[in-house]
Symmetry: C2
Subunit: 199 residues, 2 copies
């Protein structure tokens, strides 16, 4: 007299979603079955279609339906700039700023010794080959300002500088609209250390 | 140079899940594609299988793969007791107590005038027919102790009492393990009003 097996399988399958525990999965399953059967059906189709259609771009690693993504193929982007980010989401965030018109390289990860991800696991040869192709003039490191992101940036900077490639790091400091009173000491310390001279 | 359409469809489809906004949906989509493609595939299958296999039990309204659920067909349950709950999840909670061996009726909802759900929308005829079948001796109202649940219980009690059916409501009071210091005044007031005499 337990839950029907197909319902139990659905609850279990929903737990593959990040941040969804047994209670939420149960709530989601009942919600879909009771109130949104068409939504559930669309979700199943969308999952299957996305799994079939999406792969990594051969040049920048982001998700694309073709071999090489639209952005890498576009003639309108500045190919001399290469921005390195950790994930496709980070790339989207950069794009939303409209402040960058170069190309990207998505690491799909970061150096994280605790998780057993070293420089080798990130397959940085592809990035190195790309950076040394003669077209790229500057590599902009836009990994996160977390410990892992910083370690990754440090490692990449060393690696690229030894090959005489210009490397830069996006700026760290007080956020736009930020008040000094509420900024943490570490951020403020960096903002002082990395101050810009006003001419 | 936007998100590929299959990825966008997946993000949109994930928003049918309760409590999932655009940011979470994006995070889920990238997580599935990057780290758990087999989980995503299982989820798609589980959704389609559940949609095809699950329907409402003709007697108690819960989800089942047959016409009538195992519990309703079981000879081991006390058919003279009928417990009315709002949702299949509430029924599971009741079952987990192991304190009830009767049968159930799941309303799949509650009286909620603000959402336009009156007694008519809940299709209470089926419940009434069930309660008046001659087998049921007592109807136990186990709707939530929210405003809507209380209104529903009140309405059901009136409806059933007018047909001379014995009606009861699950007890309200201080939770097991509860300390008076931390119980809200409303609960404590009810606990005093509905005190039991100890013989």
């Amino acid at each position: 007299m337990s839950t029907p097996s197909s319902l139990e399988s659905l609850i279990k399958a929903l737990r593959c979603l990040p941040g969804i525990g047994p209670k939420s999965a149960q709530r989601m399953a009942y919600h879909l079955l009771q109130h949104d059967r068409s939504g559930a059906s669309s979700l199943a189709d969308a999952l299957q279609h996305a799994l079939g259609a999406l792969r990594h771009c051969q040049r920048c690693n982001t998700f694309t339906e073709a071999d090489i993504c639209e952005r890498c193929l576009s003639g309108k982007r500045d190919a001399s700039l290469l921005c390195v980010v950790e994930t496709p989401v980070d790339m989207n965030m950069m794009e939303q700023t409209h402040a960058y018109a170069g190309l990207y390289y998505v690491l799909i990860g970061r150096v994280s010794p605790l998780d057993g991800i070293g420089p080798r696991e990130l397959q940085l040869d592809q990035l190195l080959a790309r950076a040394c192709d003669g077209v790229v003039q500057e590599v902009i490191l836009a990994t996160n300002f977390t410990n892992e992101g910083e370690v990754t940036a440090h490692y990449l900077a060393e690696m690229l500088r030894s090959r005489a490639i210009r490397v830069s790091r996006i700026a760290r400091g007080v956020p736009v609209g930020g008040e000094l009173e509420y900024v943490d000491a570490g951020t403020l310390a960096q903002a002082v250390r990395e101050r810009r001279s006003l001419t």
